[in-house]
Symmetry: C2
Subunit: 361 residues, 2 copies
DNA sequence: GCACAGGATGTAAACGTTTACAAGGTCAAG
DNA sequence: CTTGACCTTGTAAACGTTTACATCCTGTGC
C-alpha cells in the first residue's frame, strides 16, 4: 500500500536513501535513519517484492508441480521442499496436475509466466512430457522429483524404480509365492508405475516365471472391490499382489478384507513408497520405502545450487537414492493349499494363525 | 527472456499493439496480427506476470498457510483450495508453520511482501495470532480455515468444534463409557484442540461426570507408547480415549495394540477430522468427519468473492459447516469388567469377539 | 590554503507491462 | 468537398524498486 516514495517524502529524503536503508546497502547518517524508521513505522511500509523482482530479474520464488497432495508421499516431499526453500528465503508456488499431462504443462506455463527462479516437477511421464520440453526451451533451472532422468544432464531426485521393484519381487518370491499380480493405479499416467512393473517382470522372468500383464485400477475409486473379485477365484488365483504404490495397497487390503480374504494368510499384499500409514495399519504394510521428505529437501537444494550455478550440484545430478525394502505383516509365506476366497471360506482355511499374532509377538 | 519490446521490433509495430494483441484488448489488422504472432513464435515470448502485476496492482496470486502438509486433513484442504484457485486463474503460494506462531507470522509477512491478493490461514490460535493482526492492519482479504472466527466480521470456514466434540462425547457416553480421557497433540499450539476439549468437558459435565484434564502427546513422536502406559493400569483406568485428531488417534491405536490392548474391546478410541485412512484401518476409526477438501474449496471461493468484493460473500461469513459423527469399529461398548491391560491380559478377557467380526459382518 | 579522499545523499534510468490520450487513415453522410 | 465517425496504431506515463553516476560536504594531509 504505502510505497517507497511516501516514506521518502515523509522522511524528507530521496527514495534512493530509503532503499539503501531498507537493504542496508550503504551507511546512512543517524538522523536520516531515524526519520526513515519513523516514517516506515508510521506508514506501515513494506517493500514490494514485485518491484524488486522486476528490477532484479529474479523472484526468489520456486515452483513445484506434483500429481496430487492427497498421496502422502507427495505431500511429504512438498513439505520438505518448502521447508528448505523457506530456510533459504525462497517462496514456493504449488500446483497439482491430477495426473493430467495437459494440466501439468499448463502449470509449467503459468509458472514460467510468473518468472519462478526454478522448478521442481513430478511429471506423469518424463519421456513424453510437454512440460519438460517447455522448460528446456526456456532454459529454466529444474529438477525432477520421483521421475527418473529422461536424458543425460537432467537433474533427478529419485530411487531406481526398476531395481527397487525387482528387489521387492525377489522378496515376495522368497516367501514361496509363484503367482503374483502387479496392480497399478493410473498405469498409463505414471512412468513410475511402468518402471516398477518392468522391475517386477524382470524378477519374475529371472525366476523362470512368466510375468502376467499389469492390472490397472483407478485408485481414486475408493472401493476397488469389483475389480479385485476376479483375482480371488480358482486354483490358479494369485497368492500375492504387488501394488504400484502404498495408497493403492492400503485400498486393496481394505477391499480384500471386505471380500473375506485374510492378509497375508490368504493373500499377501505389498506396496511402494513407504508412507507412515503403512506402519499404523494391521497388518503393517510391506513396502519399498523411499525417503520422500528428504527427497523433497534434496530436490530443493539441488535446484538452489543450480540457480546459483554452484557447479557442485551438477556432479551426480541423476544418481539414485537408496531405497529400503521394509518388511511388514502384509507379506507372508505363500499358502500351501490355495483355496478360492469368498463365501464359505471358513471351511477351507488351512491356517489358523490369529489375526494379530504377527504384530504382537 | 524475450520481452514485449523485442516482439514489437521484430513485428515492426509498437509495444502497445503487441500488448493489445496478447490481451485481445482491441482489434488488430490481419497483417500486423500475423507479424506479431510470427514474432512471438520466433522469440518464444511469454508475457511477464511480474510486469503485469506491477502495472495492474494485483498479482492473481493467493497465499495459504497451514500447520503442516503431512496431516492429510490439511493436505486435502490445500488441494481443494489450489484446485479452485487454478480454475479461476489464480496462483497459490504455500507455507507451513509447523505449529509455530512465529513462523506463521513470518509467512504472512512474506506473503504480504509478495503482494498476494488474498490469504487463507489455519493459525495456531486465532485469538492471539500476530499473523492475523498483521493482515488486518493491511486490510488484505483473508479467510480462516479450520479456525473459528475470533471476531465478528471475520470470514471463517470451519465446523463448530465445541458442538462436534460434544456430540462425539455423547456418542461415547451412550456406549456406556464413564471414564474417558481427552488426548491432545500440541494442545498449546492448536485452538482447535482446546475448543474440542471444551465440548468434551461440557458433555461430561452434563452427564454428571468430572472431566479429567487433557493429556498432551507430542504426535510427532511416532510411538507414544510410553506416554500411554500410565492409562492402562488399575481398576480406574479409562475405557475410552478421545483424540483431538485422527492422526493422533491412529498413532494411539497402533501403540495400544503394541501394548497388548484390543480396540475397542479393552479400550475405545475416537478421533477428529475424518481422514480417509481412518476407513482403511481395522477397526475403522470412529471420528468426527469434516469435509476438508470442500472446506479448502469454499475458503478459496469466499476469498475470491471478497477480492472481487462480491457482497454475497460476507453474508454468512462465519456460519459453521455441518460435521458428521462417523461411526467406526474403534468405538465399542464399555467393557463390563475392567481389567488392567498388559502382560497376562489373555486370562482376563471377558469378551471373545473375533477381531474382525465387526467389519466383515 | 589547497587538494583530495571518502562519506552521505540525490538524480535518473532501467526492469516489463498496461492504458489514457493522441493521431493518422478510411469511409459514409451531408 | 467537408465533416465526423470509426478503426487501427503510436506515444508516453505509470506501477515500485535498485543502482550507476553525480554531487555536495567534511575533514585530513601536505
Amino acid at each position: 500500500m504505502a510505497n517507497i516514495k511516501e516514506v521518502a517524502d515523509l522522511a524528507g529524503c530521496s527514495i534512493a536513501t530509503v532503499s539503501r536503508h531498507v537493504n542496508g546497502a550503504a551507511p546512512i547518517s543517524v538522523e536520516v535513519r531515524a526519520r526513515i524508521e519513523a516514517a516506515i513505522l508510521q506508514t506501515g511500509y513494506r517493500p514490494s517484492e514485485i518491484g524488486r523482482s522486476l528490477k532484479r530479474q529474479a523472484t526468489r520464488t520456486l515452483g513445484i508441480v506434483v500429481p496430487s497432495l492427497t498421496n502422502p508421499v507427495f505431500a511429504l516431499s512438498v513439505s520438505g521442499f518448502q521447508a528448505v526453500a523457506r530456510r533459504h528465503g525462497y517462496n514456493v508456488l504449488i500446483a497439482t496436475s491430477d495426473y493430467d499431462p495437459a494440466i501439468e504443462a499448463e502449470a509449467v506455463e503459468t509458472f514460467l509466466g510468473q518468472s519462478v527462479d526454478g522448478l521442481a516437477l513430478t511429471v506423469c511421464d518424463s519421456l513424453s512430457s510437454p512440460a519438460l520440453a517447455t522448460i528446456d526451451a526456456g532454459g529454466k533451472p529444474n529438477v525432477l522429483l520421483f521421475n527418473q532422468a529422461d536424458m543425460p544432464g537432467r537433474q533427478a531426485v529419485t530411487v531406481d524404480n526398476i531395481e527397487a521393484a525387482r528387489a521387492m519381487t525377489d522378496a515376495i518370491l522368497a516367501e514361496g509365492h509363484r503367482r503374483i499380480v502387479f496392480l497399478a493405479g493410473r498405469f498409463a499416467a505414471s512412468d513410475r508405475s511402468r518402471l516398477r512393473y518392468r522391475g517386477f517382470a524382470a524378477a519374475l522372468a529371472q525366476a523362470g516365471l512368466k510375468p502376467p500383464l499389469p492390472l490397472e485400477l483407478d485408485f481414486l475409486d475408493a472401493t476397488p472391490d469389483a475389480a479385485l473379485q476376479p483375482l480371488l477365484g480358482g486354483e490358479n488365483r494369485p497368492t500375492a499382489l504387488f501394488c504400484s504404490n502404498d495408497v493403492l495397497a492400503l485400498g486393496v487390503i481394505g477391499a480384500l478384507k471386505r471380500l473375506g480374504a485374510r492378509v497375508p494368510d490368504d493373500m499377501s499384499v505389498v506396496g511402494f513408497d513407504g508412507i507412515d500409514l503403512g506402519q499404523m495399519v494391521e497388518p503393517t504394510l510391506c513396502t519399498v520405502s523411499q525417503p520422500a521428505r528428504a527427497m523433497g529437501e534434496l530436490a530443493c537444494e539441488r535446484l538452489l545450487a543450480t540457480i546459483r550455478s554452484t557447479p557442485e550440484a551438477a556432479t551426480d545430478a541423476a544418481r539414485f537414492l537408496a531405497f529400503d525394502i521394509r518388511r511388514g505383516g502384509s507379506l507372508g509365506p505363500a499358502p500351501r493349499v490355495v483355496a478360492a476366497i469368498g463365501a464359505g471360506q471358513d471351511l477351507q482355511r488351512d491356517n489358523t494363525t490369529p489375526h494379530n499374532k504377527r504384530e504382537t509377538a
